[in-house]
């Protein structure tokens, strides 16, 4: 048993857009390091605006994408290390399971939905025979509030989005995974039904002792369910820590902006938000990617990439602001900055 259930070590993913000769690079995930402790089942939310690299990160954890550099460890097993004793195949599928954004996309329209459920039970050696498989499937369906009789023999388009997403959740539970990665699991579901799914996560966390990586751009549900939150901006995790702390006392100006923009129902907005004009090419900037939109911007922010600094025991932020940086710092001072970077 490792200390961390999930650990990301300097994970980067660079996409080439266009062909070999003239293509440009796009750093979709930029040196991301995170960890999720194994001691307690917990929910980690990754929050960020569109295109910030959330899905790419999830796909890397799910082994659907190969990181350009860095590695992911599940329970201490590196996934991508060459020739390493990483988790592969069934072992991996029994440890990590996905829930996808669009439930209608997650099941083939030409295959009965229950086949996926029974398939998971039998192929991953959870059940030894069909009878056992039925029991297991019935149980997980029951745990998401459905019963097998209603699900059996139907195709995906015969369910509502909410029902289908529950089936998705049920399926992911079959191998009793330690970690479920859910990429925007509720964004395609009607607002009135969302909370049901989100509540399900909380319930399942307790019942099955399963941890979640919950990807969303909705800060309020993230706050509602998660124990930890990582805020992503243009590929970087700009702030990371326990959700309570982050959302009540944010360290990074971007988190602040996000919080400010949530349409809450308790206080009305003060006017004014600055939107970027045309897509800024911030992905490759050799500076703080948020500098152009930051109200605390200093000269240094536009010159160098800020360090990941520890804000409190469990919290880190990729920003100069929390450490009162002296813009006239000398090289040696900057080196000392390196030392306060978290070592993950």
């Amino acid at each position: 048993m490792s200390e961390n259930l999930l650990e990301l070590r300097n994970v980067s993913k660079v996409f080439r857009i266009g062909g070999l000769v003239f293509g440009t690079r796009l750093v979709a995930v930029d040196e991301v390091s995170l960890s999720l402790p194994a001691a307690e089942p917990s929910i980690l939310s990754i929050v960020g605006e569109s295109g910030s690299g959330k899905t790419t990160l999830a796909r890397i954890i799910l082994e659907l994408e190969h990181p350009t550099s860095g590695d992911v460890l599940i329970d201490g097993h590196p996934l991508f290390e060459k020739g390493g004793a990483g988790l592969k195949g069934r072992d991996y599928y029994r440890a990590v399971q996905p829930i996808f954004q669009n439930p209608f996309e997650a099941f083939s329209a030409r295959k009965k939905v229950d086949k996926y459920l029974f398939g998971a039970a039998l192929r991953l050696n959870i059940a030894q025979n069909r009878k056992e498989a039925r029991e297991i499937v019935a149980e997980v369906l029951e745990s998401v509030g459905l019963d097998l009789a209603r699900v059996e023999g139907k195709y995906a388009n015969q369910f509502s989005g909410g029902e289908l997403q529950r089936i998705s959740v049920a399926r992911s539970l079959i191998p009793r995974p330690k970690l479920i990665v859910a990429d925007e699991p509720v964004s395609m579901i009607d607002a009135s039904l969302r909370m049901n799914i989100v509540n399900l996560f909380l319930e399942l966390k307790e019942r099955y002792k399963v941890s979640f990586v919950y990807i969303t751009h909705d800060l309020s549900t993230a706050y509602y369910v998660s124990d930890y939150i990582g805020i992503m901006y243009r590929g970087s995790v700009v702030e990371y820590g326990p959700s309570e702390q982050i959302l009540t006392d944010s360290a990074h100006p971007y988190t602040e902006l996000l919080l400010d923009s949530v349409p809450t129902v308790d206080h009305k907005w003060e006017r004014g938000v600055k939107l970027p004009d045309i897509e800024l090419n911030e992905y490759q900037a050799q500076a703080c990617k948020f500098a152009k939109r930051c109200k605390y911007v200093q000269a240094i922010c536009e010159r160098t990439i800020p360090p990941m600094v520890r804000v409190s025991a469990e919290r880190q932020a990729l920003c100069y602001k929390p450490i009162d940086f002296d813009p006239n710092a000398t090289v040696s001072q900057r080196e000392s900055l390196e030392s306060i970077k978290t070592e993950s």
Partner: protein, 277 residues
Amino acid sequence: MGALNRRLKIGLAILAVFIILGGILPFFSPEDPRDWIRHPRNLPPSAEHLLGTTNLGQDTFWLLSYATQNSLFIGLFVAFFATLIGVFAGLAAGFIGGITDRVITLLADVFIVVPSLPILILMSSLLQGRASLLLISIVLILFNWPWPARQMRSIALSMRERQFVNTARFSGSGTFTILAEEIVPHIFSWAMANFVNTVLVAIATESGLAVIGLSSLEEATLGTTIYWALQHQALLGRRWWWIGSPVVAIILLFIGLFLISTGISSLSAERRGHGDA
């Protein structure tokens, strides 16, 4: 819904007629209709000779039945292998990617751009008489696999990104199961439509070659039947039964196959659209 299935129904009905004509009847033929001067020449249709006889004293009906058999054989043979190769090459290109993809794509592009007819003409001319239907079929396969391959490749590329493939993978399905259970059902109707289309192309090309005298002229195919009829001036001589029956047969067969191919595509579109059981 009704309109879409009507196409398929009419198409299948026409095809059924040809399957009987070319697939079953030849086995009951009282004679080898390719033989010459078996009957009096140029008879009009009668109970004995349903479509009359040719200038060569052949029974036009049985000749047509043999011709249909051979043409259908070429069509089915070419379509089967072209679709098979195309689907596999396309899947390989789409799923494996990298060099495999580049090579397959380039080859497919070559065979799409290079006009096939001159090369077929070159081969038939060099092999005249020896250009068996089999050889012609093989060349046709060569020129017809790239279309399904191209399509398949793009389907594979999009399929690779489809989440249900990942769902299946995370449910423990191996590559083969994924192919069989996730991919094939999605491409099946498409492959069927392509298959039917290739049947059409193959028959058309072979008979095109035959009409200009470059196919295996001794075999009875729809094309060679037209060729012989033209050679014997059936057109000017107004021997409509002889020249007309293969022409009408081709037109009908093609319309039938075409209706089937569009019928299949729209049927599957329809299934995807509103597939309540």
